[in-house]
């Protein structure tokens, strides 16, 4: 039937007819395969509990939807990469991740000062990984399109966006000659553009300045 059957049967689900329940294994399998129906099920089943937990922090810095989505992203990636050992139920795992997300966001909201955000790799090699990823997400949302494009290609991301055949390894860096042919520029231009964009990204990332 496919994933669209929920639309046809939605009137029945109002009456709790055809209400689906999944086992833990089915949930983990659905998450590994990135199934939309499984994310919908997880939202329907677990969001209210997460929202209650978020509200218990009594913080204006927190948005329940945002916390849930961020938490589910982290949980899903951990499951997909085999980092979830299955020692607790999925609900408990998701709840614990969302709780950490809340703590991080509150911490961030309370201490945001540019001077404190400088990262020196030599001095702080153990800088919080989540914090770095969060910062990179903020930067990537502000990065200009051309830089984003060339960095994505160089780091082997977004093959489907550029009509490139995916290789066995999902993340394979492209050579500058290949990038140049996709973008319609010279290989040396591609190299220079990538270097320039990477320098700007590095500077913003390590010094927490805006990407301009």
């Amino acid at each position: 039937m496919g994933e669209n059957n929920t639309h046809f049967l939605s009137h029945l689900s109002v009456l709790r007819y055809n209400k689906q329940e999944y086992t833990e294994d089915e949930i983990l399998d659905g998450v590994r395969k990135n199934k939309n129906t499984m994310y919908q099920y997880i939202y329907k089943s677990y969001f209210s509990g997460i929202r209650t937990m978020v509200l218990s922090f009594h913080s204006m810095a927190l948005d329940a939807d945002d916390v849930f989505q961020d938490g589910l992203v982290i949980a899903a990636l951990n499951i997909q990469e085999g980092r979830f050992r299955g020692e607790s139920s999925f609900n408990t795992y998701l709840n614990s991740i969302c709780r950490n997300v809340c703590r991080k966001q509150i911490e961030r909201a309370g201490r945001y000062k540019p001077s404190e955000m400088h990262i020196d790799i030599a001095e702080k090699p153990e800088a919080d990984n989540e914090e770095l990823i969060y910062r990179m997400i903020q930067l990537k949302n502000r990065i200009d399109e051309k830089c984003c494009q060339i960095i994505d290609l160089r780091f082997g991301l977004s093959h489907q966006n550029y009509s490139i055949e995916p290789t066995a390894s999902d993340i394979t860096a492209l050579k500058f000659e290949e990038i140049a042919s996709i973008l319609g520029i010279e290989p040396d231009n591609a190299r220079q553009r990538f270097k320039r964009c990477l320098e700007k990204l590095k500077d913003s990332f390590f010094n927490h300045s805006d990407f301009n």
Binding site: T6, H7, S10, H11, S13, V14, N34, N36, T37, Y39, Q40, Y43, K44, D65, Q69, D70, L72, V73, I74, A76, L77, I121, A122, P125, L132, I133, M136, I137, L139, K140, N141, I151, D152, F155, G156, L157, S158, I171, A173, K195, L198, L201, K202, F205, F206
Partner: protein, 226 residues
């Protein structure tokens, strides 16, 4: 700049795994002797790893948001359906109440067959009760076996009128006629009931005759303006 350009190229080739084994070994040995090169490599590796992870999270979050948005749309439609159903039921309930409540007033609003359609034989406001409006007072003063109100009783339009009759009578209808002989009210009286209360304002000012059915004598009363 040229040095950095050279180092940048080396770092990229090393990070991409494009060096030959011997070149890679020489590069790794050189890292220990060149802290600046090592720092640049660490920065590049961190940036690359973090960028890839951030991109995956952004893409996955978009997938999850799209899935949740679909779910929210379905739930919104379900809520709308329930609201519509509840509204229809509420309207039906209100309509039923209106229909049944207007139906129970019929005994007080009966007219003769000759009365003009839409003509109201009775009107008036339900004002504060005076004199006969206080039913307790009326009851205390009336003998048990008398007709009340009796002949030529003067009443006001805003009075509550208590009709009473001898207890031994067992007729079934209380009727009121206006001065033209038209029936303006007919009330069914249940067994063993010895009185009937007519609320203020039901009778317009005028002369009326009331009768407890099967009793041959009409009793005249007059209702005046206030």
């Amino acid at each position: 700049m040229e040095t950095h350009e050279k180092e940048f190229t080396l770092i990229e080739r090393y990070a991409d795994g494009m060096m030959a084994d011997s070149e890679r070994e020489a590069f790794e040995q050189g890292l220990e002797a060149e802290p600046e090169l090592k720092r640049m490599l660490n920065e590049y590796t961190l940036i690359k790893k973090t960028y890839i992870e951030a991109s995956r999270r952004i893409e996955l979050k978009q997938t999850i948001q799209a899935a949740i948005a679909t779910n929210k749309t379905v739930r919104l439609n379900q809520r709308k359906m329930w609201l519509i159903a509840a509204s229809v039921m509420l309207i039906a309930a209100i309509g039923t109440l209106i229909v049944f409540s207007t139906g129970t007033k019929k005994p007080d609003n009966q007219f003769t067959a000759n009365s003009l359609p839409g003509e109201k034989a009775v009107e008036g406001k339900q004002n504060t009760m005076k004199e006969f409006g206080n039913m307790d007072v009326v009851k205390l003063n009336i003998p048990d076996n008398a007709f009340f109100p009796d002949e030529y009783t003067y009443l006001k339009a805003n009075d509550t009128i208590l009709f009473q009759w001898p207890s031994e009578l067992s007729q079934r209808y209380l009727t009121i006629y206006n001065s033209r002989g038209e029936l303006v009210m007919k009330a069914t009286i249940k067994k063993n009931i010895k009185e009937y209360v007519l609320m203020p304002g039901v009778l317009k000012p005028g002369v009326y005759y009331w009768k407890f059915m099967n009793d041959s004598m009409l009793i005249r009363i007059r209702v005046n303006n206030n």
